[in-house]
C-alpha cells in the first residue's frame, strides 16, 4: 500500500482517481488547489506518489513545483503530471522534475499501471 497525494481542481476527477486508487488499496489525499497542496506538503511530505494536474485554479504545475523545490530540501516522492494540456503549454515543469505523465482523458487501467510503476520505483 502506498500513500498518494492527488491534486486536481475538478471534483469529479478527484473523486474518480481517489475511488480507483483506494480500490487498489492505497491511501489517498485529494486536494483541489495548489495552495492547499503546498500547505499540506509543508507539514507532511510523507507521500510515495504525487499526481498533479498541470493547471489548477490558483497556479500552474510549474509554479507549484518551483515553489516546492525552494523549501523542500529533498523531494522523496515520485511525481506524475495528469493533464489535458498541449505539449507547448508553459504550465509544464521541466521534464526532469517529474517521473510520469498521463494525458487526459486516460483509462483507469492506465492510471493504475502508472501508479504501480511509480510506487515500485520509489520502493
Amino acid at each position: 500500500m502506498a500513500r498518494i497525494l492527488v491534486l486536481d481542481d475538478e471534483a469529479t476527477i478527484r473523486f474518480v482517481v481517489s475511488r480507483v486508487l483506494e480500490g487498489a488499496g492505497h491511501e489517498v489525499v485529494a486536494l483541489g488547489s495548489g495552495r492547499e497542496a503546498l500547505e499540506l506538503l509543508a507539514k507532511d511530505a510523507h507521500f510515495d506518489v504525487f499526481l498533479m494536474d498541470l493547471r489548477v485554479g490558483d497556479m500552474t504545475g510549474r509554479t507549484l513545483l518551483t515553489s516546492l523545490r525552494e523549501w523542500l530540501p529533498v523531494i522523496d516522492f515520485q511525481i506524475a503530471v495528469l493533464t489535458g494540456a498541449v505539449d507547448t503549454d508553459e504550465a509544464f515543469p521541466p521534464p526532469d522534475w517529474y517521473q510520469g505523465l498521463l494525458r487526459k482523458p486516460f483509462k483507469l487501467a492506465e492510471l493504475k499501471d502508472l501508479v504501480e510503476r511509480l510506487v515500485n520505483s520509489h520502493a
Partner: protein
Amino acid sequence: MPVVDIEEYFRIFIEGVKEYAIFALDPEGHVVTWNTGAERIKGYSRGEIIGRYFGCFYTAEDQASGKPAWVLQQALRDGTYSEEGQRVRKDGTHFWAHVVVTAIRDDAGTLKGFTKVTRDITERRRAKRLESERDAVRERERARQRFIQIAAHELRNPMQGMTGLVELIRYHFDDGEMLEDQDLLLRMLEHEVDHLSLLLTEVLEAYRTDDPSFLISTSPTRLNQVLIESIAPIQETHRARQFHLDLPASPVMVMGDAARLESVFRNLVINAVKYSDPNTHITVRLRCEHDRALVEVKDQGLGIPYADQERVFEGFYRGSNLGGRDPGGLGLGLYLARQIVDRHQGRLWIESTEGVGTTVYVSLPTLVEGQ
C-alpha cells in the same frame, strides 16, 4: 580661399535634391521655383509648372472644397502647416504625400510667399500596411494557438470525468453487483455531460455570432425577469457568496432574445464570482435612463489592468494580472456577451480598477409602447 556664394550654393543644393519636391509659391500660390525632386515626384517639368497655381497638385475633390487655399491660410496663421494626404501627379495618378508648407516673411513681416516640401510616402505607407497585415495574421495565429491550448484543457477535463465515471460504473456492473452510490455516480456523469455541452455550445455560439449575417430573433422581453433567471442558478451553486439584486419595481421591457440575454448576464455574474474573493459583494442593478435600460454587474475583485480592458473582448483572452491562476472556461464569455449585446443595438463596456473591482455595464434600448 575662394569666396563661396551661399545663396548660389543652396540653390544648386536644393535643385539637386531628388527625394523631396522642394519648391516655392508666391503669396497667391503660384509656383515660382521647382527642383529635380519636384519634377521626379509630380511629373511636371520646370517650364510647364512655373507660374501655375499649385491647386493642380490636389485631387478634384480637394480642389472643389477649396483645400489648396485653406492650406495656405493655415500656414499663414500658424507659420507652418503639415499633413499626410493624397496628391495628384501630372499624369493624373494619385500618390500619398507628406507635405510641409511654410509661410515666408521678410524682416518687416510682409508675406513673400510659401515654401513647400513634399515627400512621396506611398511606399512607406504600403510597407506599413503590409506590416500591420502581417501583425494581424500573427495575432490571429496566436489566438488560434490560445484557443487550441485552452480548448484542449477545458474539454478534456469533463471528458476525463465522464470516461472515469463510466468505467467505475461498468466495473461494478461487470462484478454483477449494484453500486451503493450508483445514483451519485450517474448524477456526477450527468453534470459532466452538461458541462461539456455548455462548452461546446459556447464554441458554436462564438462561431455563429462571428458571421455578420447572423440574426437573433427578438420578442418583447422583461429584463427584470431575465436578470432573476440568469442569477438564480449561480446563487444556488455559490450559496456562501453575497449577491445583491437591485431591480426596479416596474418591469423594464426590451426587444430581445431572452435566452441569449440570460447567457450574457449569467456570464457577467460568473466572471464576477470567478475574479473576486468569496467574502466580497457582487451587485447586479437594473435601472432606466431615458429610453435605455442600464444593467450594472459590479464586483470587488481583482480588476482588469487598463491595457487589457479592450482585449478582454477578444475570444480566448486571459487577463495579464492572473499570475498562474487559471480561471477555467474558454475565455469566450465577454466576447460572446459583447457580440450578443451588439445584436440588440446595445452597448457593453467595462470600468475597472486593479485591486478595487470591475463594473460591467450593458445598455439596451427599451421597448417603446406600440412598437
